[in-house]
Symmetry: C2
Subunit: 395 residues, 2 copies
Amino acid sequence: MRMTARPENLHQSRLLHLLRDEGPRSRAELGEMVRLSRSKLALELDRLVELGLVEPAGLAASRGGRRSAVVRLSPRLRFVAFDIGATSIDVAVTNGRLEVLGHVSEPCDVRLGAPAVLERALELLGKLRDDGLLPQVHGAGIGVPGPVSFREGIPVAPPIMPGWDRFPVREAIGRELGCPVLVDNDVNIMALGELHGGMARSVDDFLLVKIGTGIGCGIVVGGGIYRGVSGGAGDIGHIRVDDDGPLCACGNTGCLEAYFGGAALARDALAVARAGHSALLAERLAATGDVTAADVAAAAAAGDPAAVRLIREGGHRVGQVLAGLVSFFNPGLVIIAGGVARLGHALLAEVRSVVYRRSPPLATGNLPIVLSELGDTAGVVGATRLISDHVFSPA
Amino acid sequence: MRMTARPENLHQSRLLHLLRDEGPRSRAELGEMVRLSRSKLALELDRLVELGLVEPAGLAASRGGRRSAVVRLSPRLRFVAFDIGATSIDVAVTNGRLEVLGHVSEPCDVRLGAPAVLERALELLGKLRDDGLLPQVHGAGIGVPGPVSFREGIPVAPPIMPGWDRFPVREAIGRELGCPVLVDNDVNIMALGELHGGMARSVDDFLLVKIGTGIGCGIVVGGGIYRGVSGGAGDIGHIRVDDDGPLCACGNTGCLEAYFGGAALARDALAVARAGHSALLAERLAATGDVTAADVAAAAAAGDPAAVRLIREGGHRVGQVLAGLVSFFNPGLVIIAGGVARLGHALLAEVRSVVYRRSPPLATGNLPIVLSELGDTAGVVGATRLISDHVFSPA
């Protein structure tokens, strides 16, 4: 497979990003947006056409004078996303504008280990390829549910991914697909998805808090992911809520994840069902032998007081930790996402109530705290945003 | 007074920053550092000489061929720092390399209000001017002990600065001195001081935690101050430690500042002295009618167990909050500074012990937590770093 073309300079890079984010534009419009002379712009665009990244797309409607030629990203551009969760794989193909052309998802236990999970991911991609969606691949972005050395493209000591530690994910997939590949933490990937196509489109500094099996935070500073000095930034699941809280899998007590998150919520719901404090949850337990976070959401929606209380208590703990992060980081937006976020407005109301009461007025005066509206597409869009930012930058 | 000259482009800006941070350099060295051709470099340097920012400084030692001409920042460059604390004013004058040429400091209650405090600051600057240190002023940086709208150069609802809210500090000092002026929070200013001349010189992402009358945090991301969307970032004094802690001046309970910081420590030390749990502190109370954080430091240094316990407990609370911030931000360095930081290694040991136990291994594996070594000069150096970054950038 031939090498993916990359722009040669920052002007070309800026043009590609504009065509990705704004869609087809006339040469006249592009010239104004990037502040290049007509002749210089023509030179850069011609080069992008030669590289196969851009192509002419007819003439613009007249703005009075001569009609300006419209250009667009090549419709043959394809980016691939692998969003690997604790219990699922999502694989998607997008065009250059990051519009999802095909998306498959299936349950998959990440604990099967890197070789098995990545092989299954490639098989799923094969299905999309069989559908004719993938004439070629210009880049692939991968999200995994654990800490990643972004520079090396490998998971580093990921707690819930046995068999993945230091596995060369980027190298393995890059060899298979013959294109540039980047690997990041799944929460960072979701934050990029929100930045590209969600509530955060015009926000430079924001937090995405993912509450799923675990709890993590994507941090965006100045429109880019902040990863910290060793890639560990946003690991908020083990921030202390209380000294005398429940024992956590990490060995400390009172961590946020030990109070809330999918596993803790299921544990508490089971206790409530067994103790006979909730008819609905007890019914669920009798019917299926188990209760899940989704059962709690359904019970709360049906007005079950014990389920509502579980959600409120969890939201309160999340709010306590988030209030500290808002005081520290003064973000422009907080997005709550992930499976437990589907508990919805009862959760959101409690989180908001604590943050707005506990963080300083200067930080909360104009701070929206919202639920993600992207759902499962945040991860795949974010993964292609990550790799397209790379492919659309000079080598 | 004539306008301060500014560089005209990014090449000139980079040359000025290099000459500020690295000292005089030969044209040959500068050409290598900024990757400019000999002729292009000569053009930019000539222009900087014309602007009065740079001047020739003889010939370099031979490196084999023709001896290269050395250039340096104009020795007539002067930056001014006003570091206004809760109970003190520091005023300093530096040259273009931010070397302190003169520094005066005196107690001053910030609650006297903006007009009185700024007038006193200008009087102190007048003393330095009388000493001949200030032929002209190229820029002034100001730190104040409260939240600041950096863009507007005004304090915004600062809790401990009555009479300062929205006072046009930048405009007032700018009019008086006839030069560019920037105003920032005092903790941000200290962090810039550490970045310029302290432990953080080669660290891009770090935290400076100031524990004085109040507790605040300076956040450096990618070598620059991160201020948050409304300038409130780093306001960590009111992060919750416990639900059932002491009542705080902010109206919540269990805030970090309600547990520790100058005022809380003095309160607890007074209680210890009155209860007869410390002979040394009781003696101090009898002698002066009061006990201060400095008394606790002295008593701890003399081996007083009650004083050591106060410091340990405070360090433990700071550590609990800091552990959360380290999990979230994954910094490359944490510096502890401010008056209470003079409690020294007993404090540091306790902070470290909590952070290293409670934050994830990926974040603490290579994380130094240190006491500031700059002391009072961090603020004034940081203030001139702030304004020189501005003056040495294109208008």
